[in-house]
Amino acid sequence: MYRFIIRRVLSAIPLLIAITLVSFAIMQMAPGDFLTQMSLNPQISPQLIEKLRVTYGLDQPVHIRYLRWLWGVVRLDFGYSFAYHMPVIKLIAQRAAATLLLGLSSTIFAWGIAVPLGILAAVHRNSWIDRLTSILAFMGISVPTAFLALLAVFAAARTGWLPIGGMHHMSYEFMAPWQQFLDLLRHLILPTLVLGIGMLAGLMRQVRSNLLETLRSDYVTAARAKGVSERVAVYRHAFGNAINPLITIFGYYIGDLLSGAALVEIVMAWPGLGRLMLDALSGKDIYLVMGSLVISSIMLIGGNLLADILLAYSDPRIRYD
């Protein structure tokens, strides 16, 4: 098992290099750089821009810049953000924390509802609850995230029950810790719902169809023939086997947490990585873009690895060596 993990981590390195190489190349295709935009500002002298260019190493040829950047990454130095005037890694750490918080809360929300509902729908197949959940699931899968987020903001603005965006109230700094916590929760509710509903719907269908498949299997009939209760037949025997494909999906969601939340963050003014990435892209803040890409790639690879490891624990037939 450990050998498998080590091998997977090692094999991720060339993958990451390939991804960064491609991204770097793409960013180079863009006409101009961050300083070009700065030079449009008449208040900044051309000398200063030239100086900055040397400081940031933007005067070097592309491959040198890439290798320099790569060498920095090895030492956990992701470079410097032009726009924010701070090290990329610090900026990303701040923003990624906000995104992870949102991702985590919506994942918990989605799984917490999808799994029981999916089981209920499968066990009572073709009942009213199955039909209702399946209609809702189809709607959930089909609603575009941006549209849903706009609807949520619209509802919040019209009712005034919940904040329409952001992560903190303006007076957050002056609140007592428990008030701060409640404030954060209030701000978290809508983005969590919006992000969670899409996940929830797909997941519920998946739980349902997996469980229907295993409920039909011979070993569930064999378990019933042993005299196990219906509960044990469904939960221990059928669900125990239905869970394996879900674990793979779980890994995928983990991997997708950072980029999956981007639209919601942008509409709902959540100070996460998605907004940061968008700003960085439009500002040609190259090292910030690269840093975000690397982090989300690592998340993606890590999520898949996590799924493989979990799968090995839940399914004795799978052995890595």
């Binding site: 064999a222 023939a225 004795p316």
Partner: protein, 323 residues
């Protein structure tokens, strides 16, 4: 009193194509300590009958009529909870494919112990050691070490032994084996048949073997019931039926098996194809394929009648009557 008495059982399946009368009025009787073979071709209702005994018919199937008396109690009238006690406790069941009927994510020891825990109400540890004992009883080498292994780590024959251990762990009075050797190789099949025979001698339990292979039934069974199109054609003592079959279907079935007639001789066949159970056949269900059908066979459904001690036939023109 007989151990199992099935009376007028009817099981229907509502499918897209129409109503399938999978079991259409079946009577069966099994004495304690005996082995009953249920033979017939695929789709004749033999498995459905036995799943009905376990009350494991899943929708769209439904038991429409009949009674199933096990030790004098009607299983169809039991509450769910009472029925659960019968399953695995009073009646154990072994399925055809040991590959798919063992849960792949639970160790075999856990799966056997689960049955014991339910019916014997003992501690986990005690259940586990009883599970190991059950594995030893079905001759699995190094049972204590292998109880923690998972199904995929066993060969096909060993898996079927584990299925049997699971079914007999709580010492049921009746063991139902649904095609227990069909998925296995010939040499392994012989091992399993021997095992079943030994277990019966040891435990004095009754066994019902469902099989499409008359020869397997001949090896193992005291009694025989021949199914066709959801009905029983003939039942009685196995040796008598095989040496002197009475129903035209049984005769044809026996004669169509290569090895019964000596080599070189042409096999006798049953013309046509097995009936589609959606279309209702008037009269005797076998008459469209029966070589000796009379004109009245298409009108009157024959009543099962006793011909000699324990033999009964559902044919109005059976050959045994003249004896």
């Amino acid at each position: 009193m007989s151990l199992l008495h099935i009376n007028g059982l009817q099981v229907h399946f509502q499918t897209e194509a129409g109503l399938v009368r999978a079991v259409d009025g079946v009577d069966l009787e099994l004495e304690s300590g005996r082995t009953l073979g249920i033979v017939g071709e695929s789709g004749c209702g033999k498995s459905v009958t036995m799943l009905s005994v376990m009350r494991l018919i899943q929708p769209p199937g439904r038991i429409m009529a009949g009674s199933i008396l096990f030790e004098g109690r009607d299983l169809l009238a039991l509450s769910r909870e009472e029925m659960r006690q019968v399953r695995g406790g009073g009646i154990g069941m072994v399925f055809q494919d040991p590959m798919t009927s063992l849960n792949p994510v639970l160790s075999v020891g856990e799966q056997i112990a689960e049955a014991i825990e339910i019916h014997k109400r003992t501690s986990r540890r005690r259940a586990w050691s009883m599970a190991v004992e059950a594995m030893e009883r079905v001759s699995i080498p190094d049972a204590a070490d292998r109880a923690g292994d998972y199904p995929h780590q066993f060969s096909g024959g060993m898996r079927q032994r584990i299925m049997i251990a699971m079914a007999i762990a709580c010492k049921p009075r009746l063991l139902i084996a649904d095609e227990p050797t069909t998925a296995l190789d010939v040499t392994v099949q012989a091992q399993i048949l021997n095992l079943l025979r030994d277990l019966q001698a040891e435990n004095k339990m009754s066994i019902i073997v469902i099989t499409h292979d008359l020869r397997v039934a001949a090896q193992l069974c005291h009694d025989l019931a021949v199914f066709y199109a959801g009905r029983v054609m003939e039942r009685g003592n196995a040796e008598q039926i095989l040496s002197n079959p009475g129903h035209p279907y049984t005769i044809a079935l026996r004669n169509s098996i290569p090895g019964f007639s000596s080599s070189g001789e042409r096999l006798q066949t049953i013309g046509g194809n097995p009936p589609n159970l959606i279309d209702k056949i008037s009269g005797c269900v076998f008459h469209p394929r029966c070589p000796t059908a009379h004109s009245s066979c298409s009108d009157l459904s024959p009543v099962e009648r006793f011909v000699s001690d324990g033999r009964s036939l559902a044919c109005d023109y059976h050959a045994l009557g003249e004896m």
